[in-house]
């Protein structure tokens, strides 16, 4: 009986837990409660993904209203995969953050922190699972508002201005999405995504000419608003300006969580809009969005990586590297122009990179969390010779860095391999070369950190103190994440299989 309600439980568990956190108040109670909730959510998403991969199609009608009138939750391989990423990252980051939070956030605010964290998670999960277009906006705002609050809890006062900038840009982005949803609703009279697709491609007669609904100017405007709005949320270059400061000054566990989930969910939304709602034919062939995405993706890769090289704060460096990695994601999508092998390869490269990058960037930000806990700063100049006192943390950083570069046997390699394979399949050799070239820039910024950490002599203060390495409660989640990125690098069957299925489903519905 529970089994059939799992889709709604996925959302309800964290949603109801959030106010309970506020009621509990005591941080010794709130922490285990929130962690338990995240584990339960993770278990639910594992079961759901399993059921999807068995070939079951899951659709849940909220309150028993037929999906045309009410809200429908609908799961396909892609949404199941993203749900798993979000809940798995949350269930690792929460236990990690316990010690760290004591040093980064005043203790009297902890229960509010956990509550906002769970709300943010609810929002992200909700965007992924819902099949109702307006519901996407509601969940988007739930996740964004709680993300602003979480970022503003950072120790540095620049966290406040970063959160404010994110709020302004994020609200503009989601209002654009709202306008887009409204315009699409005007033309079709439905909000259900599956129904929307069908009606957008229906033919109508206007002034004695027969056109499809999707060709009308209102839908074109809707498409423009949706794309720009989602690009802001995705931090696609040149709309990325909110991201670096937000990730740099947020509490470290928030950076880790948002970096590995928030932009990924926006990416998911982009895929939904392009492939499920408007369709490849319209978005890529009629509107040539793929060319725009390819150019912006390449620029993001190069500019993001190049700026990352010059960052003095390692969290800032990782944030700019995120901008570059989003470029890879978008680049992969731009290959998916049809139903041929190259398209499927490109799209599955994007989806598998979504998964891999969530683990890589998550674990890298977790290592910075350990540094923050130990040193109290993530400036490069404060990290001199840190590898001697924190060998485990820094080893994790090196492995994460290798992942970012895409060295063989790491999961970063898998994503880049399929990306380049897709580029070659499509006959775009310059793009493949550019993707390889940009890895060299990644070598530069990773090496900068590694050099400072391993070869310079430690600053005086770090030598004297007794406690050297970060505590177990932080090391274990961090190494689980890093280990996962290695395991899925060598045994890439599971993520590739899911990604491929997801890509095939998207391209089928889209064309």
């Amino acid at each position: 009986m529970i089994a059939e309600h799992l889709p709604v439980l996925q959302i309800l568990i964290p949603l109801i837990a959030a106010p309970i956190c506020v009621l509990l108040r005591n941080r010794h109670l709130v922490f285990p409660f929130a962690t338990l909730v995240s584990w339960m959510t993770c278990a639910v998403s594992v079961v759901l993904l399993q059921r999807i991969m068995m070939g079951e199609s899951i659709s849940y009608e909220l309150g028993g209203w037929p999906s045309l009138w009410g809200i429908e939750y609908r799961l396909d391989p892609l949404s199941g995969f993203v749900l798993l990423v979000i809940s798995a990252v949350a269930s690792l980051v929460l236990p990690f953050g316990r010690e760290l939070l004591l040093r980064e956030v005043p203790t009297e605010k902890h229960y509010l922190f956990y509550s906002a964290f769970l709300l943010c998670m609810t929002g992200l999960l909700g965007i992924t699972i819902t099949g109702d277009f307006f519901n996407v906006f509601v969940f988007l705002e739930i996740s964004s508002l709680s993300a602003y609050v979480l970022i503003a809890m950072g120790k540095d006062r620049r966290a406040l201005t970063a959160a404010y900038r994110y709020l302004i840009m994020g609200t503009i982005g989601s209002t654009f999405i709202l306008i887009g949803i409204g315009l699409v609703y005007m033309m079709t009279g439905t909000l259900n995504m599956a129904e929307l697709t069908e009606r957008l491609h229906r033919q109508v007669e206007v002034q004695n000419r027969i056109i499809t609904v999707i060709e009308s100017r209102t839908v074109l405007a809707a498409f423009a608003f949706l794309t720009v709005g989602i690009s802001i949320k995705l931090a696609l270059f040149p709309l990325h300006v909110w991201l670096p400061n937000a990730y740099t000054y947020a509490p470290s566990m928030v950076s880790a969580f948002l970096a590995s989930t928030a932009t990924k969910v926006s990416f998911y939304l982009l895929l939904r809009v392009i492939f499920t709602i408007f369709g490849v034919q319209f978005a890529f062939h009629d509107m040539s969005l793929n060319q725009v995405l390819m150019i912006l993706g390449l620029m993001a890769v190069f500019v993001g990586s190049a700026v990352a090289v010059y960052q003095e704060n390692v969290k800032g460096l990782l944030a700019y590297s995120s901008v570059a990695q989003i470029g890879y994601l978008v680049l992969a999508v731009s290959f998916a122009t049809g139903n041929d092998e190259g398209s499927v390869l490109g799209l599955s490269a994007g989806i598998v990179h979504l998964f891999n990058h969530a683990m890589i960037k998550g674990s890298l930000f977790l290592t910075m969390g350990c540094v923050m806990w130990r040193v109290g700063s993530t400036d490069l100049k404060d990290m001199k010779g840190l590898a001697k006192s924190m060998p485990w943390t820094m080893a994790a950083f090196v492995i994460g860095g290798l992942n970012l570069i895409g060295v063989p046997l790491t999961s970063g390699f898998i994503s880049k391999w399929y990306l380049i394979l897709a580029a070659l399949e499509k006959g775009m050799i310059p793009v493949a070369a550019a993707a390889l070239l940009s890895s060299l820039i990644a070598v530069m910024y990773v090496w900068r950190v590694v050099e400072v950490v391993y070869s310079s002599s430690p600053a005086d203060e770090t030598v004297g103190s007794k406690q050297q390495e970060a505590p177990w409660s932080m090391l274990v989640p961090m190494w689980i994440m890093i280990g996962a990125s290695l395991i899925f690098g060598t045994l890439s069957r599971f993520p590739m299989e899911v990604a491929r299925r997801a890509a095939e489903v998207l391209l089928q519905t889209g064309s």
């Binding site: 406040l160 959160a163 609200t171 009606r199 109508v204 609904v213």
Partner: protein, 172 residues
């Protein structure tokens, strides 16, 4: 004539651009937030305009006309009626709602409807109003979070001017 007839959409666009320009051009954090609010409100207008149906009244089921349950089952299925060929001529070009929303009216017992005038059988589409109610709540929440952040920024920096904040950051 068409331009005048769509004046509510024009107002929405003018407001939208005013708000957007304010957000971009002002350096004062409060003014930015005010601009953001105007921007959001314009979208509320857009949604409410699209729910309007010519000659439509408030979407209230009149006494005895039908039960909610019946009504739901008897509504024209959106799947079958979205803009079939030959309808919705001006609607498409005018960007107004599709013809099928005009058709939504209670079809319970015809006798019971006799109390209503013919024109009141047309409903305005209530759904956009409901949607925008949610968006208004979201707008209120955004504004309050924004204002709370501004208070904290004022405490931390002693100013709410964008340029002065940047200077302070550059110094520290």
């Amino acid at each position: 004539m068409m331009l005048l007839g769509l004046y509510n959409y024009w107002i929405a666009i003018v407001l939208m651009m005013t708000g957007f320009y304010t957000v971009i051009s002002r350096g004062n954090l409060i003014k930015k937030l005010i601009g953001l609010n105007i921007f959001q409100v314009s979208v509320f207008l857009l949604y409410i305009s699209m729910g309007k149906v010519e000659d439509g009244t408030a979407p209230i089921v009149l006494a005895g006309s039908s039960q909610g349950q019946e009504l739901r089952s008897e509504l024209p299925s959106p799947g079958s009626s979205a803009a079939p060929i030959g309808q919705s001529k001006e609607n498409l070009s005018a960007g107004a709602e599709l013809a099928d929303t005009n058709e939504i009216r209670p079809r319970g017992n015809p006798e019971n409807l006799s109390v209503t005038t013919p024109s009141s059988q047309r409903y305005s589409n209530p759904l956009p109003h409901v949607l925008i109610l949610t968006a208004i709540v979201v707008g209120v929440a955004t504004t309050s979070v924004g204002l709370a952040l501004i208070v904290r920024i004022k405490e931390a920096y002693g100013t709410i001017e964008d340029e002065e904040i940047l200077q302070e950051d550059a110094q520290s």
